[in-house]
C-alpha cells in the first residue's frame, strides 16, 4: 500500500490541490531527520594517533557527551564539575565535554534498559556494576582494554582489582569505576540514645537488630525500629544483601541456578515477617523503595536500615538532615556483604579519540588522588561531605595519601562510622541478571511485609522458579 501511495505521489505534482497536503505530509516526515538522534555520535576528526595505548593527543579536537552531571539543584557539585572541566581543558583545550544532568537517580533500571535498546546513551555513560551483561547484550559499549594503561590511568595498579574487574568480561575491559560501596547497617543515633541503646555499638546480629528495633518502635510517635524496601527492585537488592550477610547466596557458582531457597533465605524472610507482624517494629507503610527510608530516617522516624555509606551525603544534602544523626555498623551476620557501585562505560561506535578523551576525563575526574572527586580540600570548602568511608577503592600508597587527606578535611564526626570501618566484611559481587532477580525477589519481600499469613516457603519457591527461568533464558 505504501509503495502504491508513493508511486502516485510522483504523479501528483500536476494535481495542485492535493499536492499541498501531500507536500506537508512528506516534508514533515522528512524533517524528522533534522531532529534525529541516531547519527549524533560525531565520529568526526579522528585523525589522532592510531595507537590505542598512546594517551590523547592534546591537539585532537573531540566532543564527548557524558551523563550524570550534577543537576542544578546540587549547586556546589555542579560548580565543581564545571571547575574540573576548566582544569581539564588546560591540558586538553580541544576536548569539549557536554554534560547531561539527571535530577533524580542517574540510573533507573527500566529507563537504562530502554536507553540501551534505543542506543541513545551518551558517549560516556553511567552504569551500575551489575549492568555490564545487559550493556553487552545490546552491543552498547566499546572494549577499552587497549586504551587503559599505566600511562592513561596512572593509579590503575592502586585500585582494588575487584572494583575494576566488574567491568571485565572474557578478559576485555569495558569501563572505569567512579565509586564503590559495601552495604552496612545505618542507624539513627538520636533514636538509639532516646531508646536507651548505645549508638556506638550498632547491633551486630539479627537478634540484636530485632531487640533494638522493638525498643526504638516502643518510643511511639509513629517511629519504626527497622525499615526495609519491597518495591522498585530495591527489595530484592536488600534481600541479596541480607542473604550475603548470613553467608547465603542468591545464585549458585555456575550462574545458572537460584540458590536462595535455603535455610538462610527462609531466615531473611522469617525475621522480617516477625519484626513486621509479631513485634510491629517496622511501621505500617511498606512497598517502599529507594528514597523512602532515607526520608524516614532523616526526619527521625526510623531507627535502622541497611544502606551504603553514601546515603548519608544524600540525606544531608537533599533532605536537610545532620551528619551527627547517623552512625554506621557492619551488616548483621557479617559473613559477607553486597558490594556494588557505579562505573562509566564508553558507547559502542565512538572514535578512538573519543575513547581516549573519555578515559582522560574519567581518570582526571574520578581516579586521581587529590583531584576531581578526591579533592577533599575543595569538597570541604564547598561544604560538601568529607569523611564518609566510601567511595574508597584505592590500595597501597594511593590509599594512604587519600585516607590522610580525607581525615584532614573531615566535615563530619568520623568516629560514628568506627564500627563499620573496624569490621570490614568481605564484599560479594551482585548476581548475574541482578536487576531481573531483584525485581522477582521484590514480591517475596512485599509478601512477608504486607501479609501476616504469608507462606514463606511458597514465596521462595515461586521466586526460585522465576529466577531459574530468567537465568536459563540468557
Amino acid at each position: 500500500m505504501r509503495s502504491a501511495g508513493l508511486r502516485r505521489t510522483r504523479r501528483i505534482s500536476r494535481a495542485s490541490a492535493a499536492a499541498l497536503v501531500t507536500a506537508l505530509a512528506l516534508t514533515s516526515l522528512a524533517s524528522c531527520g533534522t531532529s534525529s538522534s541516531k547519527d549524533d555520535d560525531t565520529n568526526s576528526a579522528s585523525k589522532g594517533s592510531s595507537d590505542p595505548s598512546a594517551p590523547l593527543d592534546p591537539k585532537a579536537k573531540v566532543t564527548i557527551s557524558i551523563d550524570c552531571m550534577p543537576p542544578a539543584a546540587k549547586a556546589a557539585e555542579l560548580r565543581e564539575w564545571n571547575e574540573d572541566i576548566k582544569t581539564f581543558n588546560k591540558t586538553y583545550p580541544n576536548v569539549t565535554i557536554n554534560g547531561k544532568s539527571t535530577p533524580g537517580q542517574c540510573n533507573e533500571p527500566p529507563r537504562f534498559t530502554a536507553m540501551l535498546k534505543g542506543k541513545s546513551q551518551p558517549d560516556v555513560f553511567y552504569a551500575y556494576f551489575s549492568d555490564l551483561q545487559q550493556v553487552l547484550d545490546n552491543d552498547g559499549a566499546e572494549d577499552i582494554s587497549a586504551y587503559v594503561t599505566d600511562k592513561t590511568v596512572p593509579a590503575l595498579k592502586d585500585i582494588q582489582t575487584q572494583v575494576v574487574d566488574v567491568a571485565r568480561k572474557d578478559g576485555k575491559l569495558y569501563g572505569l569505576p567512579t565509586s564503590n560501596y559495601t552495604m552496612g547497617l545505618m542507624i539513627n543515633r538520636k533514636l538509639f540514645t532516646e531508646a536507651g541503646l548505645d549508638p556506638n555499638k550498632p547491633p551486630a546480629t539479627w537478634d540484636d537488630v530485632r531487640t533494638a528495633a522493638k525498643k526504638i518502635a516502643d518510643l511511639g510517635k509513629g517511629i519504626s525500629g527497622y525499615g526495609e524496601y519491597s518495591a522498585g527492585n530495591n527489595g530484592g537488592w536488600h534481600f541479596a544483601a541480607t542473604q550475603f550477610g548470613l553467608g547465603g547466596d542468591v545464585v549458585d557458582a555456575s550462574g545458572k541456578k537460584a540458590a536462595f531457597n535455603d535455610a538462610n533465605g527462609k531466615q531473611v524472610l522469617q525475621q522480617l515477617h516477625d519484626m513486621r507482624w509479631e513485634d510491629d517494629s517496622m511501621g505500617k507503610t511498606q512497598l517502599l523503595k529507594w528514597g523512602d527510608l532515607q526520608k524516614q530516617i532523616a526526619s527521625d522516624k526510623l531507627g535502622m536500615f541497611l544502606a551504603a555509606p553514601d546515603d548519608i551525603a544524600y540525606m544531608v544534602q537533599q533532605l536537610g538532615a545532620k551528619y551527627e544523626t547517623f552512625g554506621l555498623g557492619p551488616i548483621p551476620g557479617a559473613e559477607g556483604t553486597l558490594f556494588g557501585g557505579n562505573n562509566y562505560l564508553i558507547k559502542k561506535g565512538s572514535s578512538p579519540d573519543q575513547i581516549k578523551a573519555g578515559i582522560a576525563w574519567l581518570n582526571f575526574k574520578n581516579l586521581t588522588v587529590g583531584k576531581g572527586q578526591f579533592d577533599w580540600a575543595r569538597t570541604k570548602a564547598d561544604q560538601l561531605p568529607v569523611g564518609l568511608p566510601q567511595p574508597n577503592f584505592f590500595l597501597g600508597e594511593s590509599k594512604t595519601k587519600d585516607d590522610a587527606a580525607r581525615a584532614a578535611n573531615a566535615t563530619m564526626p568520623v568516629e560514628n562510622f568506627k564500627a563499620f570501618m573496624d569490621n570490614p566484611v568481605p564484599g560479594k559481587a551482585e548476581p548475574p541478571k541482578a536487576q531481573e532477580i531483584y525485581k522477582i525477589l521484590d514480591n517475596a519481600m512485599s509478601g512477608v511485609l504486607t501479609n501476616e499469613d504469608a507462606n514463606i516457603d511458597k514465596l521462595l519457591s515461586t521466586a526460585e522458579q522465576q529466577v531459574n527461568q530468567v537465568l536459563a533464558n540468557q
Binding site: R2, A18, P109, N138, S230, T285, K439, S446, T450, Q466
Partner: protein, 319 residues
C-alpha cells in the same frame, strides 16, 4: 483551474461522460477522471495513512514477528515457541490474569455503575447541575501523576486521610494498598475517582434523550422508582451502556498508570501485577522483548475473542 477540481465536479454530477459522443473516448476520460480524483483524495489521506502505517499497522505486524524471535548479544534469531512457553511457565502469568480479571470486575462494578447512578441522580436535580457536573469532571483534567500521588498519601496506613476518616466512624483501620486483599480495590477506587467524570457526562447526555412520556406511561401502570429505572431508564440507554461496557473492558484490561504509580506496578506479593504490567516488566526490566511480545499476543487474542463474542451477543439481542 486545476485538474482535480474538474474531476471532482464530474464525479459528483450524475451520468458522467454524457456529453461525449464517442464511447471509447468517454470511457478513457472517465478512467482518467477517476485517477485524478483519486490522486487528490489519496493526497489528503497520505499523512494519516503514513502515520498509521509506521506507528500502528507496522507495529501490529511486528508484534507477531517479535513473539517468535529472541535477541542475544546483539543478534536476533528465531525462537520458535520458546517465548510463549516462557510466558506460560511463568508463575506470574496466571497471577497477572487473575489480577487483571479482578481489576476488570471491580472496575466495572465501580467505574460502570457509579457514574450511571450519579448521572441518574444528577439528572433529577433542578438546581446546581452545572456545579455538580463541573465537580465530577474536575479530576479528569488533573495530570494523572497528581491524582495518583494524592491517593497514595490518602491511603497511607500511618498518617493517611482515609484511615483517619474510618477512625471518625469507629471503623477498623485498613492497610489499603499494603494488603494483598485490598490493594486492587484501592487501585480501582482511585481510578474511578480519576475517570468517572467522562462517563457521567455521557450518561447524562443519554438520559436527556429519554422521552418523558415513557416515564408517564410507566407511572400509569403503577411502576415505582426502581421499576421505572429498570423498565425505562436502562432499556432506553442500553446501546450507550453496552458500548460503554465494551470500551470499559478494553480500557481496563490495559490499565497501567494507576497501579504503576500507586504500588510500583507489582504491589504486595504481586497482587496488582496486571497483564500489561507484566508485559512492561518483561520488556523493560528483563530486557526480554520476545516474551513481552508473546504475552501481548496472548492478550490480543483474548481481547479479540471477547470483542467478537460481545459484538455477536449485542447484535443478536438488538434484533
Amino acid at each position: 483551474m486545476s485538474a482535480p477540481t474538474l474531476s471532482s465536479r464530474k464525479a459528483t454530477t450524475p451520468g458522467p461522460g454524457h456529453s461525449r459522443p464517442a464511447r471509447r473516448d468517454s470511457a478513457r476520460e472517465d478512467f482518467l477522471r477517476a485517477v485524478r480524483r483519486n490522486i487528490s483524495a489519496h493526497g489528503f489521506l497520505i499523512g494519516a495513512v503514513l502515520c498509521f502505517s509506521l506507528f500502528s499497522w507496522y507495529p501490529m505486524v511486528r508484534e507477531f514477528i517479535l513473539a517468535f524471535q529472541k535477541t542475544e548479544d546483539g543478534k536476533t534469531t528465531w525462537a520458535g515457541w520458546s517465548n510463549l512457553t516462557y510466558v506460560f511457565n511463568d508463575p506470574a502469568f496466571w497471577q497477572a490474569w487473575r489480577n487483571t480479571l479482578l481489576f476488570t470486575v471491580l472496575a466495572l462494578l465501580l467505574g460502570f455503575v457509579v457514574p450511571f447512578v450519579v448521572a441518574v441522580v444528577l439528572n433529577e436535580f433542578r438546581h446546581g447541575q452545572g456545579y455538580l457536573r463541573l465537580l465530577v469532571y474536575l479530576p479528569v483534567m488533573l495530570p494523572p501523576v497528581a491524582s495518583v500521588l494524592l491517593f497514595k498519601y490518602f491511603y497511607d496506613p500511618g498518617y493517611g486521610l482515609f484511615n483517619r476518616i474510618l477512625d471518625v466512624f469507629h471503623l477498623p483501620a485498613q492497610q489499603w494498598l499494603q494488603d494483598t486483599d485490598t490493594a486492587m480495590l484501592s487501585v480501582v477506587i482511585a481510578a474511578t475517582w480519576m475517570n468517572m467524570g467522562g462517563a457521567t457526562l455521557i450518561y447524562l447526555a443519554a438520559l436527556q434523550g429519554i422521552p418523558g412520556e415513557l416515564y408517564e406511561a410507566a407511572e400509569l401502570d403503577g411502576a415505582g422508582l426502581l421499576r421505572k429505572v429498570w423498565h425505562v431508564t436502562i432499556p432506553q440507554t442500553r446501546l450507550i451502556l453496552s458500548l460503554l461496557l465494551l470500551m470499559q473492558v478494553i480500557a481496563t484490561m490495559q490499565v497501567f498508570t494507576e497501579p504503576f504509580l500507586l504500588t510500583n506496578g507489582a504491589g504486595p506479593e504481586g497482587s496488582t501485577t496486571t497483564v500489561v504490567y507484566l508485559i512492561y516488566q518483561y520488556a523493560f526490566n528483563f530486557n526480554n522483548y520476545g516474551s513481552a511480545a508473546a504475552l501481548g499476543l496472548v492478550l490480543l487474542v483474548v481481547l479479540a475473542g471477547f470483542s467478537a463474542v460481545y459484538v455477536r451477543l449485542s447484535r443478536s439481542s438488538e434484533d
